[in-house]
Amino acid sequence: MDVQTEILRSWHGSGDVVRRAESFRLFQARILEEYDKMVDTDNFVVLDGTLPVNKLQKQMRRHRGFKIDLKRFAPHVPEPDDHARPGKRKNGNCESPCGNFHTHITPAAPTAAKTTAPTEDASSQYFFGEPLVGFDPSEITGNLIVIEGWTDRDDRRRLRCCRVAESEGFAVQTSGLRVRIWWDATSMNFWPRTPRRG
């Protein structure tokens, strides 16, 4: 048994805080290695996670791979002229007579973001394998942006960077809670922890 494995196995046995910390560090090192393996195979855009959030946001915006047309998803806010005069409906989305000016927010017209004609192997283009039953790959017209990596102290680093879109005026909603499980990488045991509040 090598030193690293011995340290990892000592997670529960000794209860030694130092060795548990070392075990955790080794586990995180393994995760880092696994992430690094995926950088090329899964076309990750690697950013320096030590930079401040505002600089990361700037890098994300300027990255040449960030070709998603955000304006396509923007809510349509008509110009004042659209509704200043009753009966004039430039955008054609206002069904009610607009005697007074008010703002209508309507979704942008769907455009062909992924207009590739569905083929027999279309699922391999949009999914890691095959889609869930009942989902047609050709119906996917939206876009999926993923943030991976380590969070900062308040666990909101990634999310704040996700707000690139929000800063452009798009609604961003999050869901889900975090489950915290400490893992002993070799003894196959977990140490569940109570999630932080707030």
């Binding site: 950013l47 943030i147 889900g176």
Partner: protein, 107 residues
């Protein structure tokens, strides 16, 4: 949306964690993700929305592989997941990453 488990699945994962092995917990997380993929992600992608995922299946690939699950088995487990248009990876040195994680945990 966030990738990590929530609600009943989260509670079940926490309760089972003490006795389950890596494969079992991976299956539990995959089941949770499948549910959210079906209910949250796919309908939005079909509705021409922009979906921002705060971590994704790559977290499971890295985390569960580090726990000893075969990479190929993990890829097959999450084969239903849609491929992202772009993935930003915030890489940090190990010391920074560990510090960030531990600084957010009480013990």
């Amino acid at each position: 949306m966030e990738f990590l488990a929530a609600g009943e699945i989260r509670d079940a994962a926490r309760e089972a964690a003490a006795v389950a092995d890596a494969d079992d917990v991976s299956l539990l997380h995959a089941a949770d993700f499948a549910d959210r993929c079906e209910r949250q992600i796919m309908p939005l992608l079909q509705g021409d929305y922009l979906v921002l995922a705060d971590r994704y299946v790559y977290t499971a690939f890295a985390r569960d592989a580090a726990r000893g699950c075969p990479a190929r088995w993990l890829r097959n487990l999450y084969r239903f997941a849609p491929v992202p248009d772009i993935t930003f990876y915030f890489r940090a040195p190990l010391d920074v990453a560990v510090h960030r994680i531990l600084s957010g945990r009480p013990n």
